[in-house]
């Protein structure tokens, strides 16, 4: 375990605990027929969070020194592409409809993880996006965003 990152986590959690305590101060301290109001539980939890964050912070000083031999090769590039694609997928889901966005997302996803024969990826992405839409919407009466008017045949 890395001491510096854990110290960072401890600080973030400490702030979260404080925020919840401050936030719950505005809620009335008693509610009708009850001695304990809406503020009690969050305040207690906030205090606990602070105590535990401090404990974590103190513990980081007892961590043993890391051996730098094990170095993992992180692949942030692919992750970043997938992450942006996922965000775009979610944002465009309603405007462009389920079939198109899912098809595009899967195609990008397949090709990002491992470049290969494009036509297989296109075929798989097409089959999945269309069949999920039809099974869910037509057979199970579920709701998924429709395709835009100029692609009305997909609906």
């Amino acid at each position: 375990m890395k001491a510096t990152t854990d110290r960072g986590f401890a600080c973030v959690f400490l702030v979260i605990g404080l925020a919840f305590i401050v936030g719950s101060r505005s809620y009335v301290s008693t509610s009708y027929g009850s001695q304990v109001g809406s503020n009690v539980f969050p305040t207690m939890l906030g205090v606990l969070t602070i105590i535990l964050s401090i404990k974590l912070f103190i513990e980081t000083f007892r961590y043993e020194k890391e051996n730098k031999a094990e170095k993992v090769d992180f692949d942030y590039k692919k992750f970043f592409i997938i992450l942006v694609a996922t965000f775009a997928y979610c944002l465009l889901l309603r405007p462009l409809g389920y079939v198109i966005t899912t098809f595009l997302f899967l195609l990008i996803g397949f090709q990002t993880i491992q470049r290969g024969k494009t036509w297989i990826s296109v075929l798989i992405a097409l089959i999945i996006s269309i069949s999920v839409y039809y099974i869910f919407v037509k057979l199970l009466n579920g709701t998924l965003p429709k395709s835009p008017v100029w692609l009305d045949f997909l609906n």
């Binding site: 986590f9 009850s34 535990l52 992450l83």
Partner: protein, 508 residues
């Protein structure tokens, strides 16, 4: 009515054709989930909740709940069956509970006995499933009868015990686990307070009034988190599977594994009933027990059939045992059972002692369907071992983007809001960060599921006692639970301290 009559009623429910279909698809998908590396039982169950809710939407609420839980539980124990396949064929566990199976399973596969190892694992899982079900049937009524007299104070303390138990055993650092648990409880307070009707921590955002949806968080933290981890850490490139030849174990292998299967089943069941311990610890215990009772312990790790039979039985029995605290007390003991509980609550079915009174068809239907599901798994797994060995080779290239797409589909289909989709992605990123830095996510999800009930019961208890906190220690059951909870945290802590000293002594 006595147990047998209830069980008969359960079988009537389980044998309805649609419930048979749900059980079948549950165990089939579960096996696939267990076989596919990179997707474990927790994320498998979480991913399937939205799909089950949409499939069951035409049924009445109780029927829908029964069918959904039958399918989701099927995924859970199905995954325990499937997890052995990758351990044996690829030397990579399909889920955490099958880690020990790699030790001897892969060695057997290298010697050409892969088929035998796989079928012994399937038989062991079946026996274990039945053993744990018998335990469940025997313990369910007495436990729920005991729990039915619980007051709000007892419940509060029981939930605290459940939370402490899971956090005490999760991850490398108990402080981190406890932090995650408290954080989960805090996130659970977001939304409209059920007692006073005040909106808390919502910043006047209507999307927050209903609270943070547990389903979105669970799918994000577990399923998306795992996918992101696989991509970032290039976890998806793995070797070729060993070929499966004959699937039948020979006489000696069969004779050797029978006692191991029974020992594994009992250990697994006992460990599973304890909250927090779970399937991977059960498998580990069983492996070391097999090593202890064996006449040739030095041969373990070179392909001993007992090293496969014991742990594989144990992890399945633990999965069955974990259903006991969930169904009878309403306290899930692990990440997966927490998600099962969340699913039941989504259907307005409250797990706990009243479940057997109010919704006997849900409880007994589930129990009976687990018998059926285990038989299905055995039939599925023996002849289909070779097919699943092929599934192992599914290119991750297709799998990873597909899991993301299923997550988005599931969350959108149930919630229909962009807010939940964004929350899903954020939880996915957080899920990766948390696991990478050893902050266990299971206590968080468990706390999110239990939070509302914990606060509700605590405030009820405090109302009864006029705000006097010592009430929790004056009620005998409540006091006992609190003491147990404290022990659960303190004992591992002390053991750790002692363990440290021992290491220091050795070095000195």
């Amino acid at each position: 009515m006595d147990v047998l009559e209830w069980l008969g009623l359960g079988f009537e429910t389980a044998f309805l054709w649609h419930n048979l279909a749900f059980a079948f698809f549950g165990v089939l998908i579960g096996t696939a989930v267990g076989v596919l590396p990179g997707i474990g039982p927790v994320s498998g169950v979480a991913l399937l909740i939205p799909i089950t809710t949409s499939i069951t939407s035409s049924l009445s609420p109780t029927e829908a709940a029964t069918s959904a839980i039958i399918m989701l539980a099927g995924v859970y124990y199905g995954a325990m069956y499937g997890g052995s396949t990758t351990s044996i064929l690829l030397n990579t566990p399909g889920e955490a509970a099958s880690v020990v199976t790699t030790l001897d399973g892969y060695q057997m596969a290298k010697k050409g006995r892969a088929g035998a190892a796989l079928s012994i694992a399937a038989i062991g899982s079946f026996v274990a499933g039945i053993v744990s079900l018998l335990g469940l049937i025997l313990l369910a009524r007495p436990l729920s009868k005991l729990a039915i007299n619980f007051g709000p104070a007892d419940y509060t303390s029981l939930m605290i015990l459940g939370l402490c138990a899971v956090s005490g055993l999760a991850g490398k650092s108990m402080t981190k686990a406890l932090l995650m648990m408290v954080l989960g409880l805090l996130v659970g307070t977001i939304g409209i307070d059920s007692v006073s009707g005040i909106a808390r921590f919502t910043f006047n955002q209507p999307s927050l009034y209903e609270g943070i949806e547990f389903l979105t968080v669970a799918v994000g933290l577990f399923a998306l988190g795992e996918v992101f981890k696989s991509i970032i850490e290039r976890d998806y490139i793995h070797g070729k599977a060993v070929k499966v030849n004959s699937i039948l174990p020979n006489r000696k292998e069969f004779k050797d594994s029978i006692p191991a299967i029974f020992r594994g089943s009992f250990i697994g069941f006992l460990v599973g009933v304890l909250p927090g311990a779970g399937a991977s610890i059960a498998a580990f215990f069983s492996y070391s027990l097999e090593k202890k009772v064996s006449k040739t312990p030095e041969k373990f790790g070179t392909g001993m059939i007992q090293g496969v039979a014991g742990p594989e039985s144990a992890n399945n029995a633990a999965a069955g045992g974990a259903m006991i605290p969930l169904l009878t007390l309403g306290i899930p003991g692990s990440g997966t059972t927490a998600i099962l509980m969340g699913a039941l609550i989504m259907y307005n079915v409250q797990p706990g002692p009243l479940l057997f009174e109010k919704n006997p068809e849900v409880a007994w239907g589930l129990i009976a369907s687990m018998f059926v599901g285990n038989v299905m798994l055995l039939i599925l797994n023996m002849p289909l071992v070779k097919v699943f060995a092929k599934v192992v080779e599914t290119p991750p290239k297709y799998l990873l983007p597909l899991i993301i797409a299923i997550s988005v589909f599931g969350v959108y289909a149930v919630r229909l809001t962009l807010f939940d989709l964004m929350l899903l992605i954020i939880c996915g990123i957080l899920g990766y960060i948390f696991t990478r830095f050893d902050f266990p996510v299971a206590p968080f999800v468990l706390a999110l599921v239990l939070g509302t009930m914990l606060e509700y019961n605590m405030r009820r208890a405090l109302t009864i006692s006029n705000g006097n906190y010592s009430y929790f220690f004056k009620e005998p059951m409540s006091a006992a639970f609190l003491i147990l909870a404290a022990l659960w945290i303190i004992v591992p802590f002390v053991l750790k301290m002692k363990g440290k000293k021992l290491i220091v002594n050795e070095e000195g």
